[in-house]
Symmetry: C2
Subunit: 332 residues, 2 copies
């Protein structure tokens, strides 16, 4: 567990003591952050740039929080106005896998702190694929999943809390609604609370923790910068290939594209479900459609971690080229 | 997932359609049941016969439920009086691992249903080791963990809901506070809601599910009755050996002893921590002390699933015999 903590500190680029892995998926870390940081009646600001913001808005509403939703177009930078209901937490997705968007992070933390608001960031789809620097970018709570660019099996989720976030969550008036996700217990379980003894709280997914430890060791050996540039290189090869096929990428600005998940605008004259079914049947590759708000708008290609290499990108391009020919023919 | 569902139906002896595995530990299933069944302001009755009842009481209090706690001595059978605050849910632990107790189940469901109350049972430590028959015993919600007598790695938790329980949880006025544990989504994820399409909700612990599937297949091949009688046989061998060493078992009535976890009253003149440390150091066996309310009262020995065999029981007895000699000496 101590090795995992160190590995996450490196992957997140943070020196936060309150760094651990959740026993669950990225969604567990998402609920854990909201449940522990915010008390009922407080306000939360959620940036909705795809499905993950929708989720956090739903969680906050279920908890009886006052919710301010800000719909954010993909290319829009953040502006927090001094709202009448001052939010205690701002949620932003770094790697929006439903949109294929990587959201710029610089300056966001500073604006949040100016208004005494904590910054919660989802990096499930982006960590290891696109740069994110927790301490330097003043992110208060950051989480990711084990099963994306980190390559471990699903079921564990790295998360880290800044001192500012700890101060808020350990000085609340009410207990978090979930005992399972209560950071008072989890911080003791992970030996982060300074007490000599760790006390049983729940049975963690032990095999999953061993796998996560190894995956964090691999990314540390490779180096974050190398992992980022590798993902960018393969993504750029894929994007060029897609454009050569006459396809349009959903995110126009290259700097805002998520290297690990590429979204293609559905080409005119095609049924997207037919394209996916054709590729699955004839090439045995699983493309997906959109997710949440992007359903019916995009096709999505995931190339991350172990799966991210030129051979796979070329195979995907060949399959798509064939599908574009065959599925058009079948319409004629 | 369909195989897992069938395997759980066999292990639980139920034909409930709403049968699935949680993406988490037994505690996740516990919170899921309470979060989905009970609405804020409703009453819950909790039998506290060890640590698990304490947990459920804590969860219910955090959710703003009215709580009625009934402290139950180990040998006491259930009596529900027509309380002023009629509980909608009664929680009882079948295999109380902190006490080493297996609680009788016959008749409990009938009394609950007479008062229009649902019966929630924790069988984490007992399933596969001691008989429990969900349908026959009128249990409305039953859960267990993957890592006890089922032998799979920790991180998944079988759970099943009766039609009565489904009626209550799918006709509630408010949404459950947790999106992660919302059974509306989970029942769709597991294909139990009758809809043709399963919709993404979270990323399940896929490797854990494969392991659980195999462990359920193994217990089905062995047969539940054989698994129960095997655990009983080894437990009786252990109990006799312990009594031959002059030790007293914490649960006096043999019929109320949990075969998978044996509790020994701490012998007079010994420091229990010293005993555990000695056995760990000299025999490399991890005994544990009590858990929650039984800390300082008992030593605990777990023999379950793969680990449950005569050779292990004999090894444990030899280690304990040595420790009893040596640790007394060191006191002299």
């Amino acid at each position: 567990m101590n090795d995992i903590k160190k590995g996450i500190q490196y992957a997140f680029q943070t020196s936060n003591n309150m760094t651990l892995a959740m026993s669950g998926s990225g969604h567990t870390a998402m609920e854990c952050a909201v449940f522990n940081i915010v008390e009922p009646g407080e306000s939360v600001l959620v940036a909705i740039n795809g499905i993950w913001g929708e989720r956090v808005a739903e969680i906050a509403e279920r908890m009886g929080m006052k919710l301010i939703i800000k719909i954010m177009p993909a290319h829009c930078f953040l502006e927090i106005h001094p709202y009448l209901l001052r939010p205690v937490l701002f949620f932003l997705t770094h790697g929006e896998s439903s949109a294929g968007l990587v959201h710029p992070m610089d300056g966001v933390g500073d604006i949040c702190h100016k208004y005494n608001c904590l910054l919660l960031v989802d990096s499930v789809a982006s960590l290891g694929a696109a740069p994110i620097l927790m301490d330097q970018q003043n992110i208060d709570i950051l989480y990711t999943g084990s099963q994306k660019a980190l390559n471990a099996p699903p079921g564990t989720a790295p998360v880290s809390f800044s001192e500012r976030a700890c101060h808020k969550m350990f000085n609340r008036k009410t207990k978090p609604v979930s005992y399972l996700l209560d950071m008072t217990h989890l911080s003791n379980y992970w030996g982060n609370d300074g007490k000599p003894e760790r006390i049983y709280h729940h049975t963690g997914p032990v095999s999953g923790f061993f796998a996560l430890r190894e995956s964090l060791a691999i990314i540390a050996e490779m180096g974050l910068e190398n992992s980022w540039s590798h993902h960018t290189e393969i993504a750029e090869y894929l994007w060029k290939g897609l454009e050569d096929l006459g396809l349009k990428l959903f995110i126009k600005d290259k700097d805002l594209r998520l290297p690990s998940v590429t979204t293609i605008a559905i080409p005119e004259g095609y049924d997207w479900k037919e394209l996916l079914a054709y590729i699955m049947k004839h090439h045995r590759i699983e493309f997906t459609g959109g997710l949440g708000p992007s359903v019916g708008m995009v096709l999505r290609i995931g190339l991350m971690g172990y799966n991210c290499n030129k051979a796979n990108a070329a195979m995907v391009l060949a399959a798509l080229e064939d599908a574009l020919k065959q599925c058009r023919k079948s319409k004629a």
